[in-house]
């Protein structure tokens, strides 16, 4: 038996600004029938408050692609490879087993987590890592990293357990209504308030380097597009023309922002160079052009346009030219954005008086409806392209939902008050 331990110095920046707020409650509403069994044995010497094995299991189970083994059903609890008796795991029909241990440095109090992933049927090691030492309160992120490593090994695509979601929470009516731009871990943990206002906050979008959010805010009857560094708290108003300043979308290189402005005539798409502030007008059609999104290669943009009547999705080169209509099914199609590999668009489709989330194949234009609400909107791809998060109307108000691109796994994220406009962060850059 060969055991490999790799030391990971994966660095995660954890300083989030603002006070903690109400946390989103997470529920898997539809899982995969063919999910894989995996046993996550409690880690040895888990003295910290955070149960690392439990966080890993929760991550994997919430992906909908795995199911776990209750601790009471474990016939042994090994923490070292040589202590594993595979018969004990075959007996409970596990395909894979994760074991681990933790070591606290008495001086610094920092904790080192070591874990192994074993194939039960073959008795083979698939992974072995020693994670970088971390303070006990940050062990949740170490657990997410471990879950990412396991997920990528077994599923073949990157995990998104160390990602964030930004969203807008609002509550109250009339004069009491308040808006908060929030950032939380993908599973709803560690919610932080990035910005708060008594006027609407809209359309948050992550910069490709994951350091900043672009969003729309209002101040005394005027809207602006803000760039907000979520680590330093530094805020800059990028544009605040007369009329609409909306729909910010970062170019893949992070240097430009596509936006909607209406100061020259009606809502049109502009590209703003972030460093200089220079604007270039991209569309000129009468009627509304809005909701731009870049292709992953930065060559094209899709956007919502009334140029042919009711709103449909069009694609135009980032350097200008004549747009090409992309959607033909349904009364309206709105707010498209590209999948990370550029082969699909996720959008909002209006058909039979229902706004639902749909996938459009960029090549053959075939459309697949993914959601079943009446007012579903604001779809955003997870950075691994396997899951979409969107806003939907729940029994208690607006909430967030996720659906896998194959439509088989569904989850809900909700809290008191309305939650909407989710934006899934990029992966930490390797």
């Amino acid at each position: 038996m060969r055991v490999l331990i790799r030391v990971l110095s994966l660095f995660v920046c954890l300083s989030w600004i603002g006070q903690a707020s109400a946390q989103l409650e997470f529920e898997v509403t539809e899982g995969l029938t063919g999910a894989q069994p995996i046993a996550i044995v409690p880690f040895a010497n888990n003295g910290a408050e955070i149960d690392v094995a439990q966080v890993i299991e929760d991550d994997l189970v919430r992906s909908g692609l795995f199911y776990g083994l209750a601790r009471g059903d474990m016939l042994e609890r090994p923490s070292e490879p040589k202590a594993i008796d595979y018969r004990n795991w075959k007996a409970v029909n596990m395909d894979n087993i994760v074991i681990g241990s933790m070591q606290t440095d008495p001086g610094s109090g920092r904790v080192t987590v070591r874990f192994y992933l074993f194939d039960v049927l073959r008795g083979e090691q698939k992974l072995g890592f020693e994670m970088p030492p971390t303070s006990p309160e940050n062990l949740r992120y170490t657990a997410h990293q471990i879950a990412d490593l396991i997920f990528e090994k077994l599923i073949g695509i990157p995990g998104v357990f160390n990602t964030k979601i930004a969203y807008v929470a609002s509550k109250g009516y009339g004069l009491d209504r308040t808006y908060a731009l929030m950032v939380a871990d993908w599973d709803g943990y560690n919610p932080r308030t990035v910005a708060r206002s008594r006027e609407p906050l809209m359309s948050p979008q992550w910069s490709p380097d994951r350091k900043s959010l672009a969003y729309v805010g209002y101040d005394r009857g005027r809207s602006s597009i803000y760039l907000h560094n979520v680590r330093t708290g530094q805020v800059r108003s990028l544009v605040s023309e007369k009329g609409i300043n909306g729909s910010p979308a970062w170019s893949p290189d992070g240097k430009r922002l596509a936006v909607t402005l209406s100061y020259e005539s009606n809502p049109d798409i502009y590209i703003i160079d972030i460093a200089s502030g220079n604007k270039k007008r991209l569309t000129t059609a009468p009627g509304i052009d809005t909701e731009p999104a870049w292709s992953p290669d930065g060559q094209n943009l899709v956007y919502t346009s009334e140029r042919g009547g009711p709103p449909q999705i069009y694609m135009v080169s980032a350097s200008g030219g004549s747009p090409k209509r992309m959607t033909f099914e349904g009364r309206q199609n709105l707010r498209a954005s590209f999948s990370p590999d550029g082969t699909q668009l996720v959008l909002v489709n209006l058909q039979d008086s229902r706004y639902r989330i749909a996938l459009l194949d960029v090549e053959d234009r075939s459309m697949k409806i993914l959601s079943d609400g009446r007012f579903d909107e604001g779809p955003s791809f997870a950075p691994n392209g396997a899951v979409i998060i969107y806003a939907t109307q729940g029994p208690q108000g607006a909430e967030l939902a996720t659906v896998s691109t194959d439509g088989r796994v569904r989850q809900r994220l909700r809290q008191k008050g309305d939650v909407r406009e989710p934006a899934w962060s990029p992966l930490l850059k390797k």
Binding site: V7, P200, R220, R222, V230, G233, G243, G378
Partner: protein
């Protein structure tokens, strides 16, 4: 047999470090102050007043009917109804009689459709009211426009009645 393989994968490296160390603890809502209650004088609560009162406002010495300050719209429409035209005519007369007076036209949409598209619809409605005011003699310098799309509903609810009350332009005297 154990074999140790050391892999140093430094992610985000010094840049991420710098980002962390310079993070400040202060509330970062600097982008928008939230202490100005005065920007909520828009009459968002005035949707029930269907009657046309005369001279109800303290500052309204012209005797014009300005109490009805909300103009409603049909679904997917930015055309003024007869009632909407009458309200606009009242405000146009007010602006003509008071050249220093200023109005803000706040456009709104119902919840159906995407949020940024609805900002466009709200602006189109505010523009329609602006055109009516200009056609009745108001000056462009007296008018400003903002669209809140579906972000500031007048009433809660997911039915035709609620939507009809939320598709509106509110006229705010500045």
């Amino acid at each position: 047999m154990y074999k140790n393989l050391v892999l140093s994968l430094l992610v985000g490296g010094s840049v991420a470090l710098a980002g962390c160390s310079s993070a400040s603890k202060k509330d970062s809502s600097a982008g928008m102050s939230d202490n100005s209650a005065d920007r909520f004088t828009s009459g968002a609560n005035d949707i029930s007043g269907q009657g046309t009162q005369v001279g109800s406002r303290q500052d309204d010495t012209s005797g014009l009917a300005l109490s009805q300050r909300t103009i409603y719209f049909e679904f997917d429409s930015s055309d003024l109804t007869a009632e909407g035209k009458a309200i606009a005519a009242n405000f146009a007369a007010y602006l003509v009689s008071r050249p220093t007076a200023k109005l803000r036209l706040e456009g709104h949409a119902d919840e159906r459709g995407t949020r940024e598209y609805n900002v466009g619809l709200g602006e189109r409605r505010a523009n329609a009211v602006q055109q009516a005011l200009l056609a009745n003699g108001a000056s462009g310098a007296q008018l400003s426009i903002v669209s809140y799309g579906e972000e500031r509903p007048a009433v809660d609810g997911h039915d035709e009645d609620s939507w009809a009350q939320n598709r509106r332009v509110e006229i705010v005297q500045l």
